[in-house]
């Protein structure tokens, strides 16, 4: 039954399936509606994906390192609220570094708990999801945040500005993706992240400081979250304190869709970017052919399950699971 060509095609689909699916979607949507491939539409999609995308970049590090981060959503809402609040008290020049400092401190705390104390990352970040949410609500006094003088500030630059016609969120997302991709694939640190996630014990036996590596993955994640918070705040110049709720699982879905394994040790920044873009373009494509935005969730559901399923089916060499 298992003839070679079939296997070959199956293997290719399993390995590059997500890319194939992406191309098929793009072609399909482009045929259905010409507007889909118009440059301003593509810019629009990437721009609106940028906030979640930036967070996904950070979570990619955490996941490759063999952990989870469920706190990114509420951490982002913390960053957003904090930077908006400080904007009016300290002014934007000080507010931004202050917000980055506070968010990184939260990331460092999580990194300490998961890396050095070796606590289960799912529960730690679940706890932090709740704790940071509480922190945000306390900070804002349960109120929504708004910048008082929306016209007179340059703060909108990050979310609304552009460089040579390219919207700033795209520039930031792209730059960050490029830098982090180099860090992950080319530096000793990146290599260690793969080793720690792939086999933590072997990494320890090879003299890799596992705790420190995990700690830094969370720090990177927090940095990305702070950047996402900045984009969000700068785009809207005001925010509800529930912004970001539920983002943690959506971001995780993007990373998994890109092909990172929850067991750690595999995945790349490029793949995550593809995962992010699939989310964005499916939503946009469905809108353009006249469907509501929430239909994308159902489509994404199918795509995620199919992607992961094909991946593990290729590894075990059979489509259906051996579970009796």
């Amino acid at each position: 039954m298992a003839d070679l060509t079939k296997k070959g095609i199956g293997g290719f689909l399993a390995r590059q399936g997500i890319l194939v699916a992406f191309v098929l979607f793009m072609v399909g949507f482009a045929l259905a509606n010409q507007r889909f491939i118009a440059i301003d539409n593509i810019f629009g999609v990437i721009r609106s994906s940028a906030i979640l995308g930036v967070m996904a970049l950070g979570v990619t590090f955490v996941v490759i390192g063999g952990n989870l981060d469920l706190s990114v959503g509420s951490m982002m809402s913390f960053s957003t609220i904090v930077v908006l609040d400080l904007h009016d008290t300290l002014g934007p020049t000080l507010a931004i570094p202050a917000m980055f400092g506070l968010t990184l401190a939260l990331g460092a705390f999580i990194g300490f708990l998961v890396g050095y104390l070796k606590l289960n990352s799912l529960i730690v970040t679940l706890g932090m999801l709740s704790a940071i949410h509480g922190l945000t609500l306390t900070w804002s006094g349960g109120q929504n945040m708004d910048i008082a003088d929306k016209e007179g500030t340059w703060f909108g630059l990050f979310g609304r500005g552009d460089i040579l016609g390219v919207p700033m969120p795209i520039v930031i997302f792209g730059t960050l993706a490029l830098v982090l991709s180099l860090v992950l694939s080319k530096t000793p640190f990146g290599r260690k992240v793969y080793a720690v996630g792939g086999n933590g014990q072997a990494a320890t036996f090879s003299g890799i400081p596992r705790a420190r590596v995990v700690f830094f993955t969370y720090l990177i994640s927090a940095f990305c979250v702070a950047t996402a918070g900045l984009l969000q705040a700068s785009r809207s110049l005001g925010s509800q304190n529930t912004v970001g709720q539920g983002y943690e699982l959506e971001v995780l879905a993007m990373v998994i869709l890109g092909g990172a394994s929850l067991l750690g040790g595999s995945g790349t920044i490029l793949k995550t970017v593809i995962g992010v873009l699939i989310f964005g373009f499916i939503e946009n494509g469905l809108l353009l052919i006249g469907l509501e935005f929430y239909v994308q969730d159902v489509v994404i559901w199918a795509v995620i399950i199919l992607a992961v399923w094909l991946d593990i089916a290729a590894k075990r060499g059979r489509l259906w699971s051996p579970i009796a």
Partner: protein, 333 residues
């Protein structure tokens, strides 16, 4: 062996000890800080607390079984919302309206069926594809939520039926309907987990899946059944809650999965599976609700609740690990 036993008892009793601690703290602190004049330990207050624990509590009880299996279900919040919509919306269907109050049990039936079907979808995917339950239910969390929105757009779905409200607000022996549901579900699931073959198999599978498979336990159908069960319970929770409120927003139930997991973990169930108890989860649920109410009672902002619960969850994890340390000669990896 004796110390093992003691450790076990300690683990089982820890959550109840914590609850007693909370009660004592809030009663005493309440004397000095309370914003109202009523005592915290007031009987009515406690009964109300049980009622308020019901929606998440019923889901958390089901989550316990899923987690004892070594699985997880992130889609319960979306299932909860969809079941609620089905229940409220079905009562506006013409043929249902013709039935008068007989539409109520039928509407409940539709809602519960919705839950079971959604659970079965999760279970079948986990069984047949072998994809980890975390990923499967992460996907269906998005997917089910999409279905919720597709049903009625971004509009809330409302239907107030006074018979239904009366039923939901009824009290029997001082307990509200919702409390009765919570306690009944807890009792039944406790019996299932301690007395039946299905329950014992659930522990065996979570504890050592290969051993269970080798012993001829059919793991796939077992998972399917448990996912249907938690789907049913998520729907039941919706039925209980929305019978009273009569209106559901498409975003309702968001993050319920995380609250339920928090309660289960506070109750001491192992994330890796194989260990945990229904009674302790009930304790976890009550402890969280107690904290919520208690902090309000002593005049703390309700926002602090999230902060405190999150930190307590991490503290519990830390303590659990300290208790299980093997001593100094342990391999440092």
């Amino acid at each position: 062996m004796f110390t093992e036993r003691r450790k076990d008892l300690l683990k089982q009793g820890a959550i109840w000890g914590f609850i007693v601690l909370e009660l004592a703290f809030f009663s005493i602190a309440g004397n000095y800080l309370s914003v109202t004049d009523t005592a915290f330990m007031d009987f009515d207050n406690m009964l109300l607390l049980l009622k308020q624990s019901a929606p998440i509590g019923i889901i958390a009880l089901g989550m316990t079984i899923i987690m004892i299996n070594g699985n997880i279900d992130l889609s319960v919040g979306a299932t909860f919302a969809l079941a609620a919509i089905v229940m409220l919306d079905s009562m506006t269907w013409p043929f249902m309206q013709a039935l008068g109050d007989w539409a109520i049990p039928l509407a409940w039936g539709f809602a519960l069926l919705t839950g079971v079907v959604l659970g079965a979808i999760n279970g079948l995917i986990v069984w047949k594809t072998g994809v980890d339950a975390f990923i499967v239910t992460l996907g269906s969390m998005l997917g089910f939520r999409g279905l919720v929105f597709m049903y009625n757009g971004e509009q809330p779905t409302s239907h107030l039926n006074w018979t239904l409200v009366d039923f939901a607000e009824a009290q029997f022996l001082g307990l509200h309907t919702a409390s009765w549901f919570l306690l009944a579900v807890a009792l039944i699931l406790w019996l299932v987990m301690t007395r039946t073959v299905h329950g014992r198999n659930a522990y065996a599978i979570g504890n050592n899946r290969d051993a269970a498979v080798n012993a001829g336990i059919r793991v796939g159908p077992h998972f399917l059944l448990n996912f249907m069960l938690i789907g049913f319970l998520a729907a039941l929770s919706a039925v209980v809650f929305y019978s009273e409120s009569g209106s559901v927003n498409p975003n309702d139930g968001m993050l319920y999965e995380l609250w339920a997991i928090t309660a289960v973990v506070l109750g001491g169930t192992k994330l890796a599976g194989g260990y945990g108890s229904i009674v302790s989860t009930l304790g976890g649920v009550i402890a969280i609700q107690l904290l919520r109410k208690g902090l309000g009672h002593i005049g703390a902002d309700t926002e602090t609740v999230n902060l405190v619960i999150g930190l307590i969850l991490i503290a519990v994890l830390f303590l659990d690990r300290q208790l299980n340390r093997k001593g100094k000669e342990e391999l440092k990896t």
